[in-house]
Amino acid sequence: MAYELAIIFVRGLGLGAIYSLIALSFNVVYMSSGILNFAQGNILVLAGLLAALLSPPEVSVSLWLVLMLVVGCMLTLAVAAQGAMTLAPLRSSTEQHSWLVSTMAVSVIIGASILIVQGPFAVTAPYPFPGVRILGVRTPFAYLAVTALLVLCFVALQLFLRRTRTGVAISALAQDLELARATGLRVRLLQVVSFGISGAILGVTGFVAAPVISIAPDSGISYILSGFIAAVIGGMGNLYGALVGGPIVGVMAMSSAYLFGGEFQNLVLLTLLVAVLMVRPQGLFGRMSTRHV
């Protein structure tokens, strides 16, 4: 029993770090534009696929690091371009739902492309680091790496949003888009930059976590869902929330898979989502919305 508990926690936290990173990436885009990028899940999977395709079987640490930067940069540009494309025809992200379809359509296209290139089955990525024992549980090194990445991304994002001009400007968009526009901020450009940042987070996460994520054409949607639930539990738009929400979702997912079987995992997550929204719609760290009248 203790062993099972250890597995649930170690793997749950590792998985949770991935969900936290997805949630962070959701938040960055959401803050600046009010858009939820539904392609995120498949972008993460795409980064994993690139890791599997680019890495030679016995990849060295230095090559791995270089490839990580390459994939990170590729997806930063790709997601920034996706952002620019999504935003271009939009007059208002609250009135029109076209962005919902255009981001989902990109997700469909990525999934379909993976299907054509790779077939319907999951692929695995080579990794330069051997597994380690934590609390007696053999753990793929990727879980440790992705946890470290989470801490790094979180700190970097905090510093960026508070200390740099661009970061402060993006935070200003989150406060009041109209006001930001009126004061002459280059809103579209900042929004595209935040898409790029989210692409960087997803690209590096997908690369680093490649051995432990499911690299298959249809797994994107479940990463979106878990990442979104992590973001909602913490409070949409709140970085601390994303940091805490991911591990909660990860541990819940692992324990439900252990207790009820894998096919009930999403049911448990759905229940968790509904429960959180019913009791505390603003999430753990979120603020209540402002008055309407």
Partner: protein, 626 residues
């Protein structure tokens, strides 16, 4: 009433009724909704009829499927575009209906009719379940809850494979429905045609109905809906249940069309497809779902049938391409194009003169929302209290918005409420309407305590209000925006006099989006007057109005009180206006009531003058501040 009362100054010339008439009755030129409806039904009948008559089984099958998808997308449209409830779960609702039918008739041998009935019931049940979270959350939060539900549904079909046949799926024999009954046309084709046509018809009927308007308002502005006495939560339930019922019908008919159900058919992608079809076709447009299904289903699945492996990617690019090129969807862009070329010239002003006379007539004939006799113009010290605040306290953090306020609003007359910014005026209004709960003290409205009553409950007691940002709904026409007053549950359903509707059709049926700010203010005020509320709470009605419009507003407020029998509580920064219209004035400062009396009492109070120095000439003050 004297001539010109209850009327505004703008556009007093009588407009000619034009928009509907010279447009060929149904509005073909700009593809208005009646025209869209006729077109949609014609396309459905043709798509099913031609292959059926020609005996082309393949195309008949495709047409039947597309029609069923389109009718599910119609109710996706109603749910998202009219009721503003983002649901990605409609594919699951459709699938639950189909599967329940399949399990009942295919596995357990129930008669087809009984199985179909069970399927529809199951769909409504799922609709109720999806509606639950909508009471608490909205927008994309609700979207994700429904996404999760749509993902979980096929997983449950697999998990409970002893009841559902799991991945093998269920076959249902519906050969009996495929025998020709009229010429070469079989019963199933007729059922599909009727169902799909009915879907468009029902959507149109809902839009024209009181329920449809209440849904729209509840979706866009729950607080605006509640202030009219509607219950936004119930409207959401209604929207989900209506959508689930009709989606369930489509889901049930799907079974004899395919004669097979499997979990794979109802994966999340199917729910996403229905949503896509609605948006790509043209969100909110009656005919939109037809275009959406045509582009997203027929092109990838039928025209590219030989390139099966590229089906999904083509589908993705079709959706993406349409959204980038036509963010309003196909039907939306077509209609935008048509209206741009034809309607630009017809800039019809609202005839407030006619509207005022009509509202006056309506108020005279209605029984009135108030109980008992209407009072005269003067605030009578003996007149019954409509509102009583008793030591009301409300803090925001450490800031006092209302600090031990006791106040009575008596029947009849205009009661002004003034004070500097942040003095608690709007909070007081919100406390009376029920938007803000007092932390101490009590409020009674029409003799009943507001504690434990919702905003809608308070509104139904006879309290109407306007908002700082006028609640005019661009999705509705000007007529429908006014009609909301008739729709208020506190009054008997009303309707325009035939003469008025006939003479003013030109501007009444315009989309409200083109109204100016001043027109919005007045329309909102007329609406709340029509709702028969006896007590009107006006929150800064003059904000953003021109000096001329303020004069009109002041006259209207006075007339609503003296001729319409309303009691009015007005919060306003324009002291000239307040002094001109109010019979009694209360002054708030930092949440405290510092004066309460007739305008003469207030004017002589030196303590008050200090607060408003220079306010008699606001222009000077603002110039000095610059």
């Amino acid at each position: 009433m004297s001539n010109g009362s209850l009327t505004g100054g703008r556009g007093a010339s009588a407009p000619v009724s034009q928009s509907l008439k010279d447009n060929g009755g149904l509005g073909w030129r700009t593809l208005e909704e009646p025209a869209q409806l006729v077109l949609a039904v014609a396309v459905v009948v043709a798509c099913l009829g031609l292959p059926a008559l020609a005996g082309n089984v393949y195309w008949l099958h495709i047409a039947q499927l597309c029609c069923l998808y389109a009718s599910a997308a119609v109710f996706q449209n109603l749910l998202v575009s009219d009721a503003n409830q983002i649901s990605f779960g409609q594919g699951a609702v459709f699938g639950v209906a189909a599967y329940s039918f399949g399990m009942a008739s295919g596995l357990n041998g129930l008669p087809l009719a009984a199985g179909a009935g069970l399927g529809i019931c199951a769909a409504v049940l799922v609709g109720l379940v999806l509606a639950g979270p909508s009471l608490r959350v909205q927008g994309y939060y609700l979207g994700f809850v429904t996404i999760a539900a749509a993902m979980v549904f096929p997983e449950m079909l697999m998990a409970f494979n002893e009841y559902t046949n799991g991945i093998i799926g269920i076959g249902v024999d519906a050969g009996a429905l495929r025998r020709p009954i009229v010429g070469r046309i079989d019963l199933l084709t007729i059922v599909v045609a009727v169902t799909t046509s009915a879907a468009f018809l029902v959507h149109r009927r809902v839009r024209l109905s009181r329920l449809g308007r209440m849904m729209v308002v509840s979706g866009i502005s729950p607080e605006g809906a509640a202030s009219l006495g509607f219950r936004p939560g119930r409207m959401r339930f209604a929207a989900f249940v209506i959508a689930a019922f009709f989606t369930g019908i489509a889901g049930v008919i799907y079974v004899p069309v395919i004669e097979f159900v499997s979990p794979h058919s109802f994966a999340f992608e199917f729910s996403a497809f229905l949503f896509f079809a609605m948006i790509v076709g043209g969100q909110g447009r009656l005919i939109g779902p037809l275009f959406g299904v045509a582009v997203l289903y027929i092109v990838p699945n039928v025209l590219l049938v030989d390139l099966a492996q590229y089906r999904l990617i083509v589908y993705g690019f079709m959706a993406l391409g349409v959204m980038l090129l036509f963010p309003d969807g196909i039907a939306g862009s077509i209609i935008r194009l048509l209206t741009r070329s034809s309607a630009r010239s017809a800039n019809v002003a609202v005839d407030f003169h006619a509207l005022g006379a009509e509202v006056e007539q309506q108020l005279r004939t209605s029984s009135g929302g108030g109980n008992g006799t209407r009072a005269g113009t003067q605030t009578d010290a003996e007149a019954p209290e409509l509102v009583r605040l008793h030591n009301v306290v409300r803090f925001y953090g450490s800031v006092a918005a209302l600090d031990d306020v006791s106040l009575a609003i008596r029947r009849g007359g205009v009661h002004g409420l003034v004070g500097p910014n942040g003095s608690g005026k709007t909070t007081l209004l919100n406390a009376i309407s029920g938007f803000v709960r007092p932390q101490g003290g009590s409020i009674t409205v029409f003799g009943r305590p507001t504690a434990g009553r919702t905003v809608a409950d308070v509104a139904r007691l006879g309290v109407g209000r306007t908002f700082q940002a006028p609640r005019i709904y661009d999705r509705l026409t000007t007529a429908e925006n006014l009609q909301l007053g008739f729709d208020a549950p506190a009054r008997a359903p009303g309707r325009w006099s035939a003469a008025f509707a006939e003479a003013n059709a030109g501007w009444l049926h315009r989309e409200a989006a083109s109204l100016t700010h001043g027109q919005r203010r007045l329309i909102e005020l007329y609406r709340v007057a029509l709702s028969d509320a006896e007590l009107l709470l006006l929150d800064e009605p003059a904000a953003g109005l021109s000096p001329d419009e303020r004069v009109v507003l002041g006259r209207l407020v006075r007339q609503l009180c003296s001729e319409g029998g309303k009691t009015i509580l007005i919060v306003e920064h324009d002291l000239n206006l307040v002094w001109a219209v109010a019979d009694r004035i209360s002054v708030l400062e930092s949440g405290r009531l510092i004066a309460d009396g007739t305008p003469d009492d207030i004017r002589g109070n030196p303590h008050i003058e200090r607060l408003f120095t220079g306010s008699d000439d606001e222009a000077e003050v603002s110039d000095a501040q610059r």
